[in-house]
């Protein structure tokens, strides 16, 4: 039983290295207005496991990801059914505050979005100010988070410089550091490398592999090799024409890629459509 207040005081100790939480989507369906874009998605995202969501674009991967930390409801016309359990508690239930849910389930976006008005260090620590928490050693938190995101060595000498001066790949890792600084249990990544060059992509993949024992990671990717490299569990989404997206098949990544049960999965992972 994780009461938010208790958790907050624990987080205030600023002991990083949370062991990831278990996130579970149960019969999740989503609508935008009258249009159903996602139907009956059941996925269990275990701690210590990187879960990859793959599928052609428009099949509802981002929508599903955004229901996992309640970003879906930011769209005024969006509705949903089903529930999402974080360590067994419904994040849409009354026991968890909205802000607490989002703090514990962080998100990295497709386009790097550091806060341009802040310095690099301020960006990393932004989550603290934004959630109204204090930390005893801010500089230590900044350093730890940047190290975990694999960015420390590149920016250690210019922590006071504006974040906009970093390259795209560095900005994305800064965003990862920013998410890690509020010690989330789960990190959702929506095509985090799709705007990046191959070198930056590899750096981020390394980061993901280093983080996977500390925080549960869910990643949406269009890159089949990337899904194979970083994930252990994989779910394949597909939306037939004028129908909501569904999970066609899920299982260990290895099996999905080498021995898929569904012919559509085989077609997709072998690049025959999508």
């Amino acid at each position: 039983m994780t009461v938010p207040e208790v958790d907050q005081s624990v987080a205030a100790e600023a002991a990083p290295a949370p062991v990831g939480g278990v996130l579970e989507g149960v019969q999740v369906s989503c609508w935008f207005g009258a249009r159903k874009v996602l139907e009956g998605v059941d996925i269990k995202m275990d701690a210590g496991v990187v879960t990859a969501l793959i599928g052609p674009s428009g099949c509802g991967k981002s929508t599903f990801l955004r229901t996992l930390n309640r970003m879906h409801e930011l769209v005024p016309i969006a509705t949903l059914a089903g529930s999402v359990l974080l360590d067994g508690h419904d994040i849409y239930g009354a026991g968890l505050r909205l802000t607490e849910v989002r703090r514990r389930i962080g998100m990295v976006f497709q386009k790097p979005n550091p806060f341009p008005a802040m310095t690099i260090a301020d960006n990393v620590a932004a989550g603290l100010r934004l959630t109204g928490r204090k930390v005893r050693d801010r500089d230590d938190l900044v350093e730890t988070s940047l190290r975990r995101a694999g960015l420390w060595n590149e920016v250690r000498n210019r922590l006071g410089a504006p974040a906009g001066g970093l390259s795209g790949g560095q900005q994305q890792r800064l965003c990862i550091a920013r998410s890690l600084a509020v010690s989330p249990d789960v990190l959702l990544m929506d095509e985090p490398c799709s705007a990046l060059d191959p070198t930056s992509t590899r750096r981020i993949e390394e980061t993901i592999l280093e983080l996977k024992d500390q925080v549960t990671i869910v990643i949406v990717t269009h890159n089949m090799q990337q899904a194979q490299r970083v994930s252990q569990h994989c779910a394949f989404f597909l939306a037939a024409e004028d129908e909501p997206g569904r999970v066609i098949e899920q299982g260990p990544t290895e099996q999905i890629f080498s021995d898929p049960h569904d012919p559509r999965t085989a077609d997709y992972v072998n690049g025959r459509f999508g």
Partner: protein, 400 residues
């Protein structure tokens, strides 16, 4: 995946294009380097063509008006006819040398340039005239003296507008202090909260930008001065100015907030921030430069207003530092009272006031431009100062 790659490469060919003529192609005729040129640059021959066409049209005009017509015409007619004749002559000259396409191109260029000149001319004339008239009587004592002991027959260079300048500055500051918080809050409501009232409020704000300034003055006069809540004083004038400033600041600030990328709001919310914190700590700081510009534009909008202060501040010739009691003067009022006089010297003095007012407005606009285009260097300085002040404020914070 290669998208950023290609976008990054894109500018290069264009940069190379400029350099291309400089690098000698290996297969030139007998190794001779072709001359470097910029295709769209003006050349001496172009100027010669214009000069020739101008000369021809001037001569033709003189012949028509001076020799052929039996009556005399206004000088303006010379200019008009000269211009009208210049166009076909120039067109023929260019067509002869460079073809019909080039001739059309040049002709349109000339027409557009003429239009720009027409748009620009009034500003030059107005500013130029104010500067000329103002500079004749503007002396240093204009900034240090008041009109208290200056009689109607004193020379234009005697006396000064210190009391009016002080009044203007105080009233502007008060109006800003009233209108800016309200305007920014309204802008946040319109752009960030987007509540049910957003539509009507935006409509009213838009309509209020067209509010005649005398109406703002009358409004304050009838609800503040008439019922004797406050007598004529600087603060009452500030209220009237604030009414005029409010919609300008609101709309400009709302547009600035709209430009803040939605991704930043999402990023803040995804960290677990309550909505108000994401607005306060991410959206507003990101838009800081633009918001400052909005505020300064609002100030520039009202600093020269005469009608609202005419009824509300009272106007005086003596120094009154207290904007909360007693009549106060300000610059537009100073100009207004001086220029209505039948005495030539007082009218001259009004132009000095107009010049100072113009300078203040110009200063505000320049400030708005500088703040609005805050370069990274400036921003870094500001950020560092902010960080510094914060570390001094919380004692425990040690810097990296």
């Amino acid at each position: 995946m290669t998208m950023p790659e290609t976008t990054k490469v894109l500018p290069n060919p264009r940069a190379a294009e400029g350099r291309q003529p400089a690098s000698p192609p290996a297969a030139g005729p007998r190794g001779k380097v072709p001359p470097r040129r910029r295709p769209r640059a003006w050349r001496w021959t172009d100027l010669a063509e214009i000069a020739g066409a101008l000369g021809a049209s001037a001569a033709l005009t003189w012949m028509i008006f001076g020799r052929l017509l039996p009556f005399r015409v206004m000088p303006l007619a010379y200019v008009v006819l000269g211009y009208v004749l210049f166009l076909p002559i120039y067109w023929f000259v260019i067509r002869d040398g460079q073809g019909a396409t080039a001739a059309k191109d040049r002709l349109v260029t000339i027409l557009v340039a003429t239009g720009a000149l027409f748009a620009f001319a009034p500003i030059v004339f107005v500013v130029g005239y104010v500067v000329k008239r103002g500079a004749e009587v503007l002396r240093p004592n204009f900034f240090t003296e008041t009109m208290q002991i200056v009689g109607p027959l004193s020379k234009a260079t005697e006396g000064g507008a210190l009391h009016s300048i002080i009044g203007t500055l105080e009233q502007l500051a008060l109006a800003t202090a009233i209108a800016v918080p309200l305007g920014l809050l309204t802008a946040v409501y319109l752009s960030e909260i987007q509540g049910p009232l957003a539509r009507p409020v935006r409509l009213v704000a838009d309509a209020m930008t067209a509010l005649p300034s005398i109406v703002a003055g009358l409004f304050i006069f009838s609800i503040v001065i008439k019922p004797h809540i406050w007598l004529q004083s600087g603060i009452v004038g500030s209220l009237a100015l604030a009414i005029l400033m409010l919609p300008t600041v609101t709309i400009a600030a709302e547009q600035v907030l709209h430009v803040v990328p939605g991704g930043l709001r999402e990023a803040a919310l995804a960290l677990g921030a309550p909505y108000w914190r994401s607005v306060l700590m991410v959206v507003l700081p990101t838009a800081r430069a633009g918001l400052s510009t909005a505020v300064i534009l609002g100030m520039a909008r009202v600093v020269g207003e005469t009608a609202p202060v005419l009824m509300t501040t009272g106007g005086t010739t003596v120094m009154n530092l207290n904007p909360f009691s007693g009549h106060q003067d300000n610059l537009p009022l100073f100009v207004f009272t001086q220029i209505r006089s039948s005495q030539e010297n007082q009218v001259d003095r009004a132009w000095a006031g107009a010049l100072v007012l113009l300078a203040i407005v110009l200063l505000l606009f320049v400030l708005a431009r500088i703040v609005g285009s805050a370069s990274p260097g400036r921003r870094r300085i500001r950020v560092r100062r902010r960080r510094g002040s914060r570390t001094t404020s919380d004692a425990g914070g040690n810097r990296s």
